[in-house]
Amino acid sequence: MREEVRQIQELIEQQAYVTDAAVATSLYLAMALGKPLLIEGPAGVGKTEIAKVLAGALGTQLIRLQCYEGLDATTALYEWNYPKQLLHIRLQEATQGSAAEKEASIFSEPYLLKRPLLKAITDPERSPVLLIDEVDRSDEEFEAFLLEVLSDFQVTIPEIGSIAATHRPHVVLTSNRSRELSDALRRRCLYLWIEYPSFEKELQIVRRKVPAIGEALSSELTQVIQAARSLSLSKVPGVAETLDWAASLVALNATHLDAAVVTETMGCFLKDEEDLRKFEREAGSRLDEILSHR
């Protein structure tokens, strides 16, 4: 393994994120090649977390752009600070100077409201981590616009001119595949797919994130979660749910799982009435079997 990849893995592990070679290699290449990293996978497997951990590990700023339907360039890139401009106009009314000068002064950087994308390319110190979260929720038009920004990291503001990136940000995009992303965007990015963690990995995550949990409880809980994921639920519990449940069980001073405890607390990881019923019906009766599985 390349020394740099190992270092990245170590740095990430220091941020209390349980990782593997695929994540570390992709992150290393994304940084070394200067390409955006597209992370896909089911909801709740820690896609967003990777960007946060990366920013933490590099000691840089994390700039987050949450995508949603109808997100447009003004919310993502920049906007003029109209009230401030108006105020300035009134203050300047009595002063000398031509109209052109006055106009130039209100269309300058102090009157610019930087939105995430512009903020990400104008960081004066070092490359920040730019997280473009749930890019599949944005419209296709926005995706095209994003492609343009990501290809040359340069933004043109008509009143000012072009602003090129001082430090290229490390870009991480996440998608839940609610919409098929365009091939152009996919091809521009390195690709990483994250699955639900295996039993061993999830157990490690639980023990790392909820240190107060006992050995026995943590392994029992992970077994139940893994069994729940195989049930084809409408909202499959993610890692965040596992951790919520672990924390709740610790708060309740539970040391072992039994049918009563599971029934009381399963709202922590099942967030849908249908799923609750399905889980009770199909897994509740087999709890002993699930727990003795390993």
Partner: protein, 385 residues
């Protein structure tokens, strides 16, 4: 790294990318360049690292992973060479001449319902008999009636088509503007009017943005015996539409009409089917005319000029044609567009000669097939009102 080694990596990577393209992974030249750069950055003796790096660079979807893994295995390794890339040159370079790149979307998944629907066509032989005997149209229909035999993967494909459609319908900008608290454009008129309150001083700005055009959908599905095979597909489609946050109303009919929007909404698919099982009237013939008339009188408020009404039926009507004509005339007058989907239209020799279809044809704006996923996709262009 020696010059010769670098050269061989370059050549091997190019060959590997070609092999990937032939297998349907559309690697761009830029990606091939990135792959070569990536290989210089990593530890080539670490086989896993080489694999993960190339996969990260050269694939762009989890669907590509199995093909990639297979080709990587075949291409980049020979036992006893420590995993160092050593391409099998001859065969690949020969076959590499053919650089046709099949677009991914056209490749059907080689399994499951999605595949079945993509490739399904009614048997060409026996078409005529089928048309003449609607009640006994499908011998295997009893076995096929079982809605919940579809896996979640296959449903997902139909749902994806539906979501796309709904999104298209919901996000088209209108020419009209509406005031909003925060937005991209300053609403000058409102801002100036508001400034009168503060003595002509612009203190707060108001904004405006474009309204969205809203199209409503009403889906009326024939679920009588002769439509068995297709009504499943359509109900799934309706189910997916219904749960994609659009204004969709769904009805089913055979001898009578039932509104099932509520049954489809916000439920797991199996549960939706359970509740549908109670409402479906599988028995008897089809009364299209009376069912549409019942719709017209029962839910007149659902249809206006911004509504697209989709009727899916094979046109086998056991009722009176006058009633059908009257009901369709009313619908045609009220609706923005009237679409009739007929699954039989997908089979090559079909002519809409049935009495019901003949009656209906003058009233409908769009007459389209609906027998597989492709026809669902092409429905899109008819829905932009």
């Amino acid at each position: 790294m020696s010059g010769a080694a670098a050269k061989s990596i370059l050549a091997d990577t190019v060959l590997f990318c070609r092999a990937l393209r032939e297998s349907g992974i559309a690697v761009t030249p830029a990606e091939a360049v990135a792959a070569v750069r990536a290989l210089r950055l990593i530890d080539l003796d670490d086989r896993q690292e080489t694999f993960l790096s190339l996969r990260s660079v050269l694939t762009s979807g989890v669907e590509d992973f199995p093909i990639f893994a297979e080709l990587f295995e075949e291409f980049w390794s020979r036992p006893g060479q420590g995993g160092r890339p050593s391409a099998k040159t001859e065969r690949e370079s020969r076959s590499g001449i053919n650089l046709r790149v099949p677009p991914r979307s056209q490749e059907p998944a080689p399994r499951g319902l999605a595949f079945f629907l993509e490739n399904w066509a009614p048997p060409t032989s026996g078409d005529s008999e089928q048309i003449n005997t609607p009640a006994a149209s499908n011998i295997e229909s009893t076995a096929e009636k079982d809605f919940d035999r579809f896996g979640s993967d296959e449903l997902e494909e139909i749902a994806r088509v539906a979501r796309r459609l709904v999104k298209k319908l919901a996000s088209r900008p209108s020419r009209r503007w509406k005031p909003v608290r925060r937005g991209s454009r300053v609403n000058l008129r409102r801002s100036l009017r508001a400034s009168l309150r503060t003595g002509g001083e612009l203190v707060e700005l108001s904004f405006k943005k474009r309204k969205h055009k809203k199209t409503r959908l009403v889906v009326i599905c024939d679920v009588s015996g002769s439509m068995d095979l297709y009504s499943r597909l359509l109900i799934q489609f309706a189910y997916a539409l219904q749960n994609s946050a659009a204004q969709v109303e769904t009805f089913v009919f055979s001898t009578s009409l039932k509104r099932i929007s509520g049954h489809l909404k916000n439920k797991a698919y199996e549960r939706a089917l359970e509740s549908l099982g109670e409402t479906r009237g599988w028995s008897g013939g089809t009364l299209i005319g009376p069912s549409l008339a019942a719709f017209n009188s029962g839910w007149p408020a659902l249809v206006d000029k911004r509504t697209i009404v989709i009727i899916s039926s094979d046109g086998w009507d056991t009722g009176e044609t006058e009633e059908l004509a009257a009901a369709l005339a009313i619908l045609k007058r009220r609706a923005g567009r009237l679409i009739w989907l007929n699954p039989l239209l997908g089979s090559p020799g079909y002519q809409p000669l049935t009495r019901g279809m003949q009656t209906a044809l003058p009233f409908i704006d769009v007459f389209a097939p609906v027998h597989n996923l492709q026809s669902l996709r092409s429905l899109e262009r008819h829905l932009l009102l």
